[in-house]
Symmetry: C2
Subunit: 368 residues, 2 copies
């Protein structure tokens, strides 16, 4: 039996569902920006690197299978998938001019706590593919052996499977008191986060290696840092630091306990391209075909809309996490305070906001 | 491109989600009874009729694919699927003593408005199969060509894709004024319902014929009537008639309009085995391997618990339908009145309650 035991991440990791004003659907314009920027790169990557002549493609079955690992609730996943299908159709037509068109099956993966109901209700009725939902953590097996031709994961793999336990352990040298993130200022903390990232990436790569056919492609887009830059120097790190300082403020006001604040860290790790490259090479299941960085405008034009976008974007992503740790009412107060503090301190981002990057990685599965 | 345009049924067809006191999960003991009664028949059917030696099974891929069409929210679907897997494993082991074990992939299908979130959250973490959700009407294609080895549909195909329009058209000879169901008393009404059932069954069989490999099996369990019995003679028909009389009562009280009552009919058709047999034979894609009837105790022991089960069971299944047609508040009043009327009239079921049956049909996909 090929299925491994399936570990689930805590509920709080999933984005806010539905399509209300605080939902991920309405507050993922930054992530949509990533999709747009990478769209052309995906199209070019498929054109250059997908080879139907060497792909382990079952000629008796004309179905090309795609999976989006960490799809959330749309609509970004639909844009990404449609773009992939278009590029694959083009390449197939270019290589086999007269063969019948491909059929497509798309697996939408996210945690079982993701709002699949919202996702399914917004599937386009005139879509050109068979759609399936795939509930479960991508840090584990989700599909049968050698059944996938194209894997895609956008803006998810910077999320660790868990916060490394040392960083919230007051007895550990890696205790991260006074910070809610891997800010890069304390060697032991960075080491603990980096070790967890290595474990998680390896688990992910091993699971996908089982699922993807020889010659199949995988596109990974994930948040990262340029080589030599640490989180506390990057705009996004300052943003998390400001959120952390709000927790400290709330503790001083007695709204939440200091202990609770000390035990809260973000399960996020922004890696460098050197670090990822090393992990992929050591893993050994995939060749790196393209490794690039995307950098793009995070902030909108006016300061007011920037602040609004920053707060609502943060809320859509982090609300579940904060509610689980501090309870709903406290989370609400934290966001209110955060909005005010962000407005008062927005100038800190002026020079730094562009300093984090998104890795764009295109891998090809080795033939066994 | 093999995907046909996907028609969706109205929202109201789906069962009540979640696991609250009015949910389908908590009120599907009747359906669970069907699963239990058919469990042994499925096991025996797989043992006798599944033949791995003639099954179009890709030896390079060890994955056996199962789909439950109309799975609702569990837990019945999980029991059914686990039973199928156990029987398939036994048969595989019996035919290929020393071969490596099969992997299983299970597709859970229901309408996009089904509560997939609830379904996914209750998937067993130690399950022995890869799980996927398949949103969409089963009166249409859902999976790629020739990828399914075992299809299952329990207690769903008596639901039509729509109410035949003639029966709610005051200008048609098939206008079903004074009844909310195909009670079998008016020839034109029966003809309209029967024609819709034929169309729907054919659409279902044609879609599954594309998806199921040669030699693959399909188990259909559905509500029906013994040959020669009409709905108004069966306990279940009397139950719907009583529900219909509640609508008439509410109209007299001015709570809902008479017009609204006249335009309401249940999209349900209870067929005879002769009728189904004919449809399957004319369709021509499957051979009938087993055709049997299940009859089992519907009502619990005491009258009080019977009434409770009847009302809450009806609510779980029909609430969406009534709310869509009459608005929530009216639907609530209808159920309150129904509970009272059922208690006052429960003796009408004494002789008739056992007269409807469930068809158990095991089909095998022809080799092309």
């Amino acid at each position: 039996m090929a299925t491994e035991e399936i570990k689930e991440l805590p509920k709080s990791w999933a984005m806010i569902g539905g399509d209300g004003p605080q939902s991920y659907t309405q507050n993922s314009s930054y992530q949509k920006g990533v999709v747009d920027a990478s769209k052309e790169m995906v199209t070019e990557g498929i054109k250059d690197k997908l080879d139907f002549k060497s792909l382990a493609f079952d000629s008796s079955n004309d179905t090309f299978r795609i999976a989006d690992f960490g799809c959330s609730v749309g609509p970004n996943t639909f844009f990404a998938v449609e773009n992939i299908i278009k590029a694959v159709e083009h390449k197939h037509h270019a290589q086999f001019n007269n063969s019948p068109p491909l059929a497509f099956q798309v697996f939408f993966n996210d945690l079982p706590t993701n709002d699949f109901n919202a996702l399914f209700k917004t599937l386009h009725s005139n879509r050109k593919y068979f759609a399936a939902g795939l509930p479960g953590t991508f840090y584990g097996r989700l599909l049968p052996k050698s059944t996938l031709h194209f894997a895609y994961s956008s803006y998810c793999l910077q999320w660790l499977s868990k916060v490394p336990k040392e960083v919230v352990d007051s007895k550990s040298p890696a205790w991260n008191k006074g910070s809610i993130q891997c800010d890069g200022l304390k060697k032991e903390v960075t080491k603990a986060y980096s070790a967890q990232f290595q474990i998680d990436m390896n688990t992910f790569l091993n699971a996908r290696a089982q699922e993807i056919v020889g010659g199949g492609l995988m596109v990974i887009i994930m948040a990262g840092l340029p080589d030599g830059i640490i989180m506390s120097q990057a705009g996004v790190g300052m943003y998390y630091e400001l959120l952390g300082s709000c927790l400290a403020d709330m503790a001083k006001l007695g709204e939440i306990s200091e202990e609770k604040v000390d035990s809260f860290n973000l399960p996020l790790y922004y890696s460098s391209s050197t670090e990822i490259e090393e992990i992929i090479k050591v893993n050994g299941n995939f060749s790196i075909e393209i490794m690039d960085s995307l950098s793009h405008q995070i902030w909108q034009t006016s300061k007011e809309s920037n602040i609004e976008v920053s707060v609502s974007g943060g809320r859509a992503v982090f609300q579940g996490l904060l509610e689980e740790h501090f309870a709903s009412e406290a989370a609400e107060k934290i966001f209110e305070h955060f909005a005010k503090k962000l407005a008062d301190n927005f100038s800190i981002f002026d020079g730094a906001a562009y300093e984090h990057i998104d890795h764009f990685i295109l891998l090809k599965r080795h033939f066994n």
